[in-house]
């Protein structure tokens, strides 16, 4: 009978049947002590679509270069305008909807982007359990190991890693407390806090528990770039976390990801800035963490555990939202979808506008306009495109910060407008 079990379970939440150390990478070993969390962790192989998120399981015929039999749907096929935006960059060859954590290492290894351009060892930072391999390679020093792998090619680095993100990447094996293991985040937060006047900020010592419930995700779900020849992974937060700050930073250091294939503009690729966007939204402001929605508490017997099946909250609305919002599930779902639909509408307006700007610069170039004459229009393209991509690449389709996403898109459209006007002057 249930109640009997409940009472039993309540007495002893953790049975440690095996010892785990700071070198235990394999989650299956951790799973002996924490079978409930491990069971859920394994479920991230599931693929279910939501209106704008989740992912679709698309069959794939295994080949030598890419042995996957199932992938996620191609975003390039869904919206071919993306190819034009990323023209000349590996993303224009292969870009898919992201799926569960179980796939991260595999999807990185076999993306066609690896084929069309040589990727850096730095990539591995966010797609594998790196803590132990980093420490080993660095002779006990995490940062040294990080630097070691950054400078390799991806192909060289890859064999040292076995697991996707694992227990050890988020947990201290002794206390099970959360911890940040990613050099990129440790250094990014240090820079951010220094800008706010806080010296030597150390996430693992100074963050509160509730902050950590977002920081462990912010290790990877952020905008980034590779700095210099050492290809050091850097989170561009020195001036602050919002897009205007990030843009200002990239301008200051004159950073570009690539030169646009059709226009010659020096452009940027934005990548999954979930942490930054969340930070601009009302939930962050109200102290609601990533884990509150993506790893909500669930009851197993008398125990309340964090659901380690990290996924779209729309697949789990009662646990993810209803503790705070007493609206029916269907209502909550449609609140999210209405926000997303509006974001999507604006994204499409901005995307159409950008296509026109790119076509305009391209044809002016073909008609013989000089670099000098195109300078301004290209600069606006850089801006329009980065702002649009910031929302496009952010995976909540606006939900994490609805007004901010809209503001960014409004600015993107305005940059495009100014770019097109700059072209007009060229032509006259």
């Amino acid at each position: 009978v249930n109640i009997f079990e409940h009472k039993q379970a309540a007495k002893n939440p953790f049975y440690r049947v095996t010892e785990i150390t700071d070198e235990t990478v394999d989650p299956e070993v951790w799973g002996k002590n924490f079978p409930l969390q491990f069971d859920d962790y394994k479920k991230t192989v599931d693929q279910v679509r939501t209106r704008f998120g989740g992912s679709e399981a698309v069959p794939h015929t295994p080949t030598n270069v890419d042995p996957r039999s199932v992938v996620a749907q191609s975003r390039l096929e869904e919206d071919p305008r993306l190819k034009t935006m990323w023209s000349g960059y590996a993303f224009s060859k292969d870009f898919r909807e992201e799926r569960g954590h179980a796939f991260m290492l595999m999807d990185q290894t076999y993306t066609e982007r690896q084929v069309v351009s040589k990727q850096a060892g730095t990539c591995i930072h966010c797609h594998a359990s790196v803590y132990v391999p980093y420490k080993k390679a660095g002779g006990g020093d995490l940062i040294k190991g990080f630097e070691h792998f950054n400078q390799m090619s991806y192909a060289e680095a890859r064999p040292s890693f076995t697991h996707p993100v694992a227990c050890i990447d988020c947990h201290d094996p002794k206390s099970m407390q959360l911890r940040v293991t990613r050099p990129g985040f440790l250094e990014g937060m240090k820079a951010l806090m220094a800008g706010r006047g806080i010296k030597d900020y150390d996430v693992n010592k100074m963050a509160t528990r509730q902050e950590m419930r977002s920081f462990v995700c912010g290790q990877c779900h952020v905008e980034y770039y590779f700095k210099g020849k050492e290809k050091r992974l850097v989170y561009p937060w020195v001036k602050g976390l919002n897009i205007d700050n990030i843009m200002a930073y990239y301008d200051e250091i004159k950073f570009k990801d690539w030169i646009h294939g059709e226009t010659g503009a020096e452009v940027l690729k934005a990548q999954h800035p979930e942490f930054e966007m969340w930070n601009m939204g009302i939930h962050a402001r109200s102290g609601v963490a990533c884990a509150d929605c993506h790893m909500p508490y669930k009851r197993v017997g008398a125990l309340k555990i964090s659901d380690h099946w990290v996924r779209s909250p729309l697949l789990n609305i009662n646990a993810a939202c209803q503790t705070c919002h007493k609206w029916p599930e269907a209502e909550l779902k449609s609140r999210v979808e209405e926000i997303q639909q509006k974001t999507f509408e604006m994204r499409n307006i901005a995307m159409d506008a950008l296509m026109e700007l790119i076509a305009g610069i391209k044809s002016a170039k073909e008609a013989g306009a000089t670099d000098d004459q195109l300078k301004l229009a290209r600069d606006y393209q850089r801006r329009a495109q980065f702002y649009l991509d910031f929302v496009e690449a952010e995976n909540s389709t606006g939900f994490h910060a609805p007004q901010e996403a809209a503001r960014i898109l409004a600015k993107s459209i305005d940059f495009t407008r100014k770019g097109q006007l700059a072209l007009k002057i060229v032509k006259n």
């Binding site: 009662n318 209803q322 705070c324």
Partner: protein, 142 residues
């Protein structure tokens, strides 16, 4: 549905006694925490504005003798049933009937204060106290 009814009656009695069912009939809030699923409400109630003026039953049973015990009997039945089958909605949601009871208890204690604002309306008076005061008994989540 029928299966639930049949099994429920049998096991329900057992569960009720096992889970210290008798204390359910008292006004002591700890009676409710005999079930761990009520613990978070109890904890929140301890920090609530009503901690020293209202117990669980002040808000969750009608303010008259027969209403009180028939409500408890009905709820007691649902409670042990749910507990036994373990398949209730989480987070726990108040039923329409119990919400109406709770609303009536607000009015019963606060009649004087709200007499001027609590009136009827041709299209229906959907004046609900907990639309604004959802935190008085136990603020969960926030």
């Amino acid at each position: 549905m029928t299966i639930v009814g049949g099994v429920g009656t049998g096991i329900g009695v057992y569960t009720f006694i096992y889970a210290k069912g008798a204390s359910y009939l008292t006004n002591n809030p700890e009676a409710c925490t005999n079930c761990h699923v009520m613990q978070s409400h109890y904890d929140a109630w301890l920090k609530s504005s009503h901690r020293s003026v209202a117990t669980c039953n002040s808000c969750h049973t009608p303010h008259n003798f027969f209403g009180k015990y028939s409500t408890k009997a009905l709820n007691g039945f649902h409670h042990s049933l749910a507990m036994t089958l373990g398949d209730f909605h989480e987070p726990i949601q108040i039923s329409e009937r119990n919400r109406a009871i709770t609303e009536s208890t607000c009015r019963s204690c606060h009649q004087d204060v709200v007499q001027m604002i609590d009136r009827g309306h041709p299209g229906g008076s959907d004046m609900s106290c907990i639309r604004c005061h959802s935190n008085v008994g136990h603020a969960l989540g926030k």
